[in-house]
């Protein structure tokens, strides 16, 4: 899931790959509310992971988002 998230951040949101670490916060990556809508759309459309932008926005770090993605993937199965 970490790689999935990293790929979306790099390819869709154009975040520099070297900035992305598990501890990086949304402020570190300069992700605003619009970015989380884009992330939510991409996860739903391309990865069948349905997480709202509000849920994603509540996460602090990349690791938190990955954990939510893993939890939601497990729930959906």
């Amino acid at each position: 899931m970490y790689e999935t998230l990293k790929n979306i951040l790099v390819s869709t949101l154009k975040v520099a790959p070297e900035q992305i670490t598990p501890d990086a916060t949304k402020d570190d990556l300069e992700l605003d509310s619009i970015a989380f809508v884009e992330l939510s759309m991409e996860l739903g459309k391309e990865h069948d992971l349905h997480i709202s932008d509000d849920e994603l926005f509540d996460m602090e770090t990349v690791a938190d988002i990955v954990a939510l993605m893993e939890e939601r993937a497990g729930t959906d199965r």
Binding site: T12, L13, K14, V15, A16, I34, V37, E38, M41, K45
Partner: protein, 403 residues
């Protein structure tokens, strides 16, 4: 005489001639059309356009910035950066720096793409960036964000006169002392299939199959314009301030005329009454007589009606027979950017003493009695006009004088 005296102290340009003032001016002076077959318009009634070559938005603006900008804002931001880099900003008070940009309809490419996603995926398929990328006002907002300018921030829309109107509005802001510096210009990037289909259906575009000869202003065989994209930004200041700061002045804007034909949605008034009034207003602003005009950068779209009416007006109004050119023979019609880009070309013409040619003028329309440059002509010009007219009958004329 109202004494309008606005200094042009910086120039920025992105045109089908290339990125930058130097590339654009070289292309225009060379007099070769930039039109080409456009693969994105394959299957269209008209499939030629003039695109900006080698525009790498990621490299020029950074991928993170570029991905959130429609192409129209990308072009404008690059032009603004060049214009501002041409100036020394240490004396600017950011609270007194304004931005006025003309555009005909904003981010058309984004709007069309997102409409496609709406049809394909439903409402939740639409990007949250639709409005920040599409709204016309965003281009001025983005320029202000780029530099931290907090003065009046405006976008004007007068169709293909937009770029010239923006410069005129900027001059008014400076003359009224609402600003000390204004970045003014125009932009459009509307070569998207929907917009191009609209232009083709209304019969505005040339149907010639050879791109190189399609845009032919004032020629007897002209049959429509070639659509283009581009952006131009000028740094404007009151001339007295620029001189006090010791800034090099490239030319001065000394007159602005703005009128409406109030006649038809696309056709110009056949008598040219709106155009005549706009030229007269610009000359009155400049305190100049018709005989003082040495050069006119015409609107010159290469459509039957525009060139006929404009040419007749110039012949009747300017007895000195100024050397006329339409740079659209080279660049195509940059729509909302055209008036600003042509103001830049006019500034360069008076600054450098060169009137650029009109490409593809083989046989002057026999209805016209004007002197049109067909090669680059060395000519010292004290006063020039730059004409711009838009659908809806909106006219803007700028009077530009040697510094």
């Amino acid at each position: 005489m109202t004494g309008l005296d606005i200094a042009v102290t910086g120039l920025g340009l992105v045109t089908p001639g290339g990125v930058g003032v130097e590339a654009g001016w070289a292309a225009v002076c060379a007099g070769r059309s930039t039109a080409a077959h456009d693969p994105t318009l394959a299957g269209h009634e008209v499939s030629i356009s003039c695109r900006v070559p080698d525009f790498d938005a990621d490299a020029l603006l950074g991928a993170r910035r570029a991905v959130r900008l429609d192409r129209f804002a990308q072009l404008a931001l690059v032009a603004a950066r060049e214009a501002v880099a041409d100036e020394e900003r240490t004396t600017w008070d950011a609270a007194r720096v304004g931005v006025v940009i003309g555009t005909s309809s904003g981010g058309g490419e984004t709007f069309e793409r997102q409409h496609g996603l709406l049809l394909a995926d439903g409402p939740t398929g639409v990007s949250p960036l639709l409005l920040p990328m599409h709204l016309p006002n965003m281009v001025a907002g983005q320029i202000a964000m780029e530099f931290g300018f907090h003065g009046p921030n405006l976008v004007v829309a007068t169709a293909c006169a937009s770029g010239a109107t923006a410069i005129g509005v900027a001059c008014d802001l400076l003359a009224a002392r609402r600003c000390d510096v204004v970045l003014a210009g125009g932009v459009d990037a509307l070569l998207n299939p929907l917009t191009m289909a609209g232009f083709a259906r209304m019969g505005a575009l040339s149907r010639r199959t050879d791109p190189a000869t399609a845009s032919r202003p004032f020629d007897a065989d002209r049959d429509g314009f070639v659509a283009a994209e581009g952006a131009a930004v000028l740094v404007l200041r009151r001339a007295e301030d620029a001189r006090a700061d010791g800034r090099p002045v490239r030319a001065r804007i000394v007159g602005y005329g703005a009128t409406a034909d109030a006649h038809h949605i696309t056709k110009p008034d056949p008598e040219g009454r709106g155009v005549i009034a706009a030229v007269r207003a610009a000359l009155a602003d400049a305190g100049a007589a018709p005989g003082d005009v040495g050069h006119v950068n015409a609107h010159g779209t290469s459509t039957q009606l525009n060139d006929l009416v404009e040419g007749r007006v110039l012949a009747g109004l300017l007895p000195s027979g100024p050397l006329v050119t339409s740079t659209k023979g080279v660049t195509g019609h940059m729509l909302g950017a055209a008036g600003a880009a042509e103001a830049v070309f006019t500034v360069l013409a008076v600054e450098q003493g060169i009137v650029p040619p009109t490409a593809n003028l083989d046989t002057l329309d026999p209805e016209l009695d004007i002197d049109v440059a067909t090669t680059a002509v060395p000519l010292g010009v004290e006063l020039a006009l730059s004409n711009s007219f838009g659908f809806g009958g909106q006219n803007a004329v700028l009077a530009i004088a040697r510094a």
